[in-house]
Amino acid sequence: MELNVLFGGRAGDGIRQLGQLWARLLARRGYRVFLYDDYPSLIRGGHNFTVVRASELPVSSHRERVEILVALNSEALERHRWRLEKEGLILGEDLEAGVSVPWKEIVKEERAPAIMRNTAALASLARLLDIPWEELEGHLRRDLPKETELNLKIAHRSYQKTSGGVFRSLPVLSQEPWPTFFGNEALALGAVAAGLKLYVAYPMTPASSILHYLALHGETLGVTTIHPENEIAAILCALGASYAGWPSMVGTSGGGFALMVEALSLAGQAELPIVIIECQRPGPSTGVPTYTMQGDLDFVASAGHGEFPRVVLAPGEAEEAFRLSAWALYLAWKFQIPVLVLSDKQVSESLFTTKLPLDEVPRLEFKAWAGGGEYQRYALAPDGISPLAFPGDPQAVVKVNSYEHDPYGITTEEPELIAQMQEKRFRKLSLLKDLLDAPAWVKAEGEGETALVVWGSTRGPAWEVARALGWRYVQPLVLEPFPERALKAALEGVKKVIVAETNFTGALVRRLKAHGIQVDHQVLKYDGRPFSLEELEGKVRGL
């Protein structure tokens, strides 16, 4: 059982909200849903569309073809008609064919803002799918806390006016309903679950909604949220807090991350824990800000002058986003290093149903200074991890330093010490490799002799395609340090390796090859759009 609905209209028509309301309604009926949102970089006008896919089974990708097309203007109809399945339904206003409901009129008559057409459209859709009014009313009361009564009035009139009978019945599923999360919400909550105290970010699509979410819910979540003057201030503020003992995180997209690179290197030298979320979009430069691409892997993996250990994690959907951002904070503090979480628009701004594994993620811990003797911030520990104390401790003088330094944190230029400190920092890399080059960090499913290998957001369609084709599915969750052993283990017995990613130069392909893993086919997409299920399947089938 699957249902795919496309909602299309102009920016400002509330298309995304409409999709989200629909997705949540279905989620509460026990469906697993995925919402893909396609919008240009403007505030009003242009063309937006949102695809909501609902299924009994977990999904995290969208289909190209849909059973229902909800058109809030005629452009939506023109652009997307080709997507409609045979026997599909068109819902809109003033249609030649399909179900027409006079939403504009209803909204006008109620003297409501034009955007409330989206509530009207939702009601029509609910009616056509045999959702009882009482149920819809309950959803709207919950999801539209503002102007609820007006919305309900509009919904009710539209519900009544929708004729044409039931298009399809959507049974309430018996499985437990799962909550819905945008990828960015899951990223935020993962860090909160691990112990986040401070989030600092300058707005940048597609990372901004982490900022908005934490600013709105920070009081509840115990997170201070700051929007500073620029990205440079953002990361240095976060590093100051981290020095003072507050787990902190920053989030941005590629261009903002570029401005953080100098401070990333500072975190490396001063051994300050920090989590950086980088939500990719098509570059170079401003590029295509509201679309998606996996084009920044090499950049984040080697950003920063000088050499220092770091971790790069890449989630492919909301649950992974939650887990990995929790792990990011954990690893950052355990190893006193910068940890980067590489998301993209497709993960960050899509909506997923998932039960977040609240109890399965690590909580932040660190090697605390036990007191006794004199404190050395950079004690030459055998494992490279010096015990942490924080300013304010009456027993310790805590000195961190961007210069190369001695164990007390005092600047040094002595060759022996320079080498020793570099070795100390890199001892952590061996520990990291032991921890992260392990099966848990490479998702592998299926037994086939053909493997589809992907990372990040390409997971959504790839996982389903691999299943459908009886192939093995392989996805590293950590990209740096690269889990060479675990990948080779996951690929044991595989005769054909196919890699798919949304970029031009094949960042994962390059990495696999550099680590001695042969790649037989690469499937790249670099037009700013994610792979739809059909598209990916079409491209890999027969390879």
Partner: protein, 283 residues
């Protein structure tokens, strides 16, 4: 041992400023302040933050918590420390290249926000550590290594800029008067809000201004009312950081009280009930 046995405020680090450097006066003033905090048993609540440059070495020389940061970024680091631990007192040491060049935006925003920090700018009107280029406060015509024919730019007046940016504490000190400077720093540390102190600091090697300043610096008259914005501005405009001036006023030009940023923004840490949050918002 980090601290010297004979002088526990100092570290074992060898001081590598040029003989005659104005930073020695600054260090004297700082140590005077630290001594007071030490006597009150409050030293461990103090944190220094520095940029990169000759000025910044000061943090290596004192056995106090410190974050030796990067060029231009004293203020955002200090801000973060303060957000995490408002009970700490944070004192920034920046250079003029640092605070008025690379990091200028942070300075204006710190004033605008009224962050509860103190910033001491070691203003020698030159990039000392990178061997003598002109800075935003170098006088027009200054011959530095990047401007061998003389700087083409008019200096900024940091006090005027700070007043225009909403700073609640604006002062000027002189490295040649460490005792007076110490009182300014102490007043800055006790000021609830952003305390800005521009310190005239001769660079013995690249811009020796001792004679120029000694002949001109003068404390503000006792009658000056630091809550009077216009008076503060008038005094600030007395000297435009050129090489011409009759008189260069020192002291607290301006001090008023405004709400603190941290009180408006900081959320106290707590153990969130995520399950409840998800039920309420996402289900």
């Amino acid at each position: 041992m980090l601290a010297r046995a004979k002088d526990p405020l100092s570290t074992y680090a060898e001081i590598t400023w040029c003989p005659g450097c104005g930073n020695f006066g600054l260090l004297t003033a700082l140590k005077k302040v630290l001594k007071g905090w030490q006597e009150e048993g409050a030293l461990s609540r103090l944190v220094l933050v520095s940029g990169i440059g000759c000025h910044a070495k000061i943090v290596d020389y004192v056995a106090v918590n410190s974050f030796y940061a990067i060029h231009g970024r004293v203020l955002p680091v200090a801000w973060g420390i303060k957000m995490a631990r408002p009970e700490l007192t944070v004192l920034g040491h920046a250079g003029d290249g640092d605070a008025y060049g690379e990091g200028l935006a942070h300075l204006i925003f710190a004033a605008k926000r009224n962050l509860n920090l103190t910033l001491v700018v070691h203003n020698n009107s030159v990039y000392g550590l990178t061997t003598g280029q002109f800075t935003p406060t170098s006088p027009k015509g200054f011959k530095g290594r990047s401007t061998p024919k003389g700087s083409p730019e008019t200096p900024i007046n940091p006090l005027e800029l700070m007043l225009a940016s909403g700073a609640t504490f604006v002062a000027r000190g002189y490295a040649g008067r460490p005792a007076h400077l110490a009182t300014l720093i102490e007043a800055g540390l006790r000021h609830p809000g952003f305390a800005f102190i521009d310190v005239l600091q001769p660079c013995y090697t690249f811009f020796n201004t001792y004679d120029f300043f000694n002949a001109r610096v003068k404390e503000l008259p006792p009658g000056h009312d630091p809550t009077d914005f216009e008076a503060a501005l008038r005094w600030a405009l007395k000297w435009d950081y050129s090489q011409e001036a009759q008189e260069i006023p020192l002291g607290i030009f301006y001090q008023v009280s405004k709400p603190l940023y941290e009180d408006l923004v900081r959320v106290s840490p707590k153990e969130p009930d995520l399950e409840e949050h998800i039920k309420r918002l996402h289900s």
